[in-house]
């Protein structure tokens, strides 16, 4: 299925969870935060939260700024 991760279209397996997406795309799993369709997904829920086709995922981390 196709989802959007940080603005890019990605193909991931049907039934993938937030944790699966992070792993498949080689994204770090600590020091980050995930928003799924505009809502924060707490870290503890990454494994249990399924991503549906067309979902918009934002994966953010701290950078220099301010």
């Amino acid at each position: 299925m196709r989802i959007t991760v940080n603005g890019d279209i990605r193909d991931v397996a049907d039934g993938a969870t937030v944790a699966d997406v992070l792993t498949v795309l080689g994204l770090p799993t600590t020091g980050i935060a995930v928003a799924l369709d505009g809502e924060v997904v707490p870290r503890a829920a990454h494994v249990a939260t399924p991503v549906s086709a067309g979902a918009v995922l934002e994966v953010l981390t701290a950078v220099q700024g301010g």
């Binding site: 940080n6 020091g31 934002e58 981390t61 701290a62 950078v63 700024g65």
Partner: protein, 251 residues
């Protein structure tokens, strides 16, 4: 001198809060942070990429500096609230420097969205430190909304124009029941000292140090300036006079 900066439930020795933006690289940043003596430093939240690390957080952790996530770049209350919640998740802190800006040319805070976001985040359990205009009325409103400090600008972000309306800063200080932190516009050490002489509890600056020709040296200057300004404020300056007054005995 035992004169800690107290914000919400935390106590800091240093009254200089720094930003991490604008530094040429992490080693320049690290030397500047150490020289500044800061204990609280802002970071931003951005999209992660596969090779991107969280280097800045590792630097802060190594130096024992608390990270203060900001909502830089947000234009609406909704965006800022989501960013703050993501920052809480990523960094494990409920502290946030709340920024809601109106446009890219001035980077001035949007007061309507700012107050709206502040109320939502306070209700959600955040310790909110809002970057605000030098508007004494808005500062009071933010305090009433439950903000842990108010952070008026001296002049627009990154301009180095110093404190354009010192009287407004004094008005904000005179009525505030929470710490007033001068945020944005600091260009050089005398600006930071003036902020403290006007009664600010702390100074937040980034560009003035990170984009200085010698960031480490400027950080040292800012550290001294904040201490000097604080001492001068508490020492009770002499009144200004129109005519001279001899300081030596007449004969």
């Amino acid at each position: 001198m035992d004169d800690p900066l107290i914000i919400a439930d935390r106590e800091y020795t240093s009254r200089l809060i720094t930003g991490t933006g604008g530094a040429a690289n992490l080693s320049v940043l690290e030397r500047a942070l150490v020289a500044s003596g800061t204990e609280l430093t802002t970071v931003s939240l951005r999209r992660v990429d596969a090779q991107g690390g969280t280097g800045v957080l590792q630097v802060l952790a190594r130096l024992g500096i608390d990270p203060l996530p900001n909502t830089a770049g947000c234009r609406t209350a909704a965006e800022a609230v989501l960013t703050a919640r993501l920052a809480r998740e990523a960094l494990g802190t409920n502290w946030v420097k709340l920024e809601v800006i109106a446009d890219d040319r001035t980077l001035l805070p949007d007061p309507v969205e700012l107050l709206d976001a502040a109320r939502t985040l306070v209700d959600d359990g955040f310790v909110v430190l809002p970057y605000t205009n030098d508007d004494p009325v808005l500062a009071l409103r933010l305090e009433e909304a439950g903000c842990a400090a108010v952070m008026p600008l001296g002049s627009p972000i990154g301009t180095g124009l110093g404190i354009r309306n010192p009287h407004n800063i004094e008005l904000i200080v005179a009525r505030a029941g929470v710490p007033v932190i001068l945020d944005a516009g600091i260009g050089t050490a005398s600006d930071a000292a003036l902020a403290m002489e006007l009664g600010c509890a702390a100074v937040l600056l980034a560009t003035a140090v990170t984009r200085a020709a010698d960031p480490e040296k400027m950080a040292t200057a800012m550290r001294s300036a904040v201490i000097a300004g604080r001492l001068a404020r508490s020492a009770g300056r002499i009144p200004q006079r129109f005519w001279a007054q001899a300081s030596s005995p007449p004969r």
